[in-house]
Subunit: 189 residues, 2 copies
Amino acid sequence: MGKFIQYILRFGNLNKQQIDLIKSRASETELRKDDYYWEAGKTVKQIGFLTDGVLRVYYYNNKGEEITRYFIDENHLILSGSTIDEIYTPSEYLSAITDCKLVVFSKHDWKEISETIVGWDHILQKIVSKYHSEKIARRSELISQDGTERYLDFIQKFPTLVNRVPLSFIASYLGITQSSLSRIRKNIR
Amino acid sequence: MGKFIQYILRFGNLNKQQIDLIKSRASETELRKDDYYWEAGKTVKQIGFLTDGVLRVYYYNNKGEEITRYFIDENHLILSGSTIDEIYTPSEYLSAITDCKLVVFSKHDWKEISETIVGWDHILQKIVSKYHSEKIARRSELISQDGTERYLDFIQKFPTLVNRVPLSFIASYLGITQSSLSRIRKNIR
DNA sequence: ATCCCTTTTTGCCAAATGGCAAATGCTTTC
DNA sequence: GAAAGCATTTGCCATTTGGCAAAAAGGGAT
């Protein structure tokens, strides 16, 4: 819980009352490894903040292959595709790679917070925009590199993930096969 | 100008007064082919909306290669990386692939609009989030495909660009060499 | 039409990656 | 500790892509 407040405060100031409101609306949940947080086709009913563990966002392409879009690790908001008032039905899956702990808000409570706390939307706007530019930057850089460079990039940018995420997931994130990644790993050492 | 208003109205409603305010603050500019709209290291002083033409966003990697991050075509807002009140100095270049026409706002006027029109931030939030999810989706899909698939994907998603953008730029967007793209093109027909 | 300059296509060969299947390694369970 | 179940590594070979340089094709100006 504290982690979430701390995170928010990095993007804007809140007074005690406001923090108390947030705390009163939050609840904590856990996910076991391989549990879904989202499933394609099911509507998303909550907003979550990941305090412990790693999640993976993925989808299936037209060949039925599982493609990992990105990873979410500790201290990140899990943002649905669009705005809060729309009903959001993802086309992706979001599942736990490791056991996870989350702080979650119902859409209703989240909306209340947004309507009550002046500046909340502004804070969110900052978070969303930072978050998205990072993702785009990472993706774009990956694309112009060969497998080895992508992997080196990955371990540099996600040092905490390398040892917690199965090789096959990393490969599907990097856009190469599992075998290729395995060979690349061998050559690096 | 009308194009810009129309675009905004797709994301939220505005009354006549509000539209007039926007119009009164807007000015129109042109860019010639190869002109810069942004340059890495120079601060961005305006917000623009592209009404005609195509822009290209690119940067240089550590090998000095030019990497195209994405293209911006007609009817798109050109959003700086972060929020409006921060001074934004990009690390990328944004230049005109074709002659372009734009509607631009000074940061000052843009801020005024944001402070005057209730709901403006909300509209922007929608635009930003739609825009970003599209970009991310496109990038992610590219990465799991081979050159041919990426190119087919490209011509399907940007049909209007294929004939206006030089092959070398498309190649650098797709993350393959110009020669490879040329060969791929040949095999497709 | 000619020259100049840029873009695109090719050829050739080396390197990287994919596909598939078998082997190896690691964990968990009984 | 043996068996079963995954994850990872390897081998083999086909295919794709890269690197480099030359050739061909366009475009614009004179």
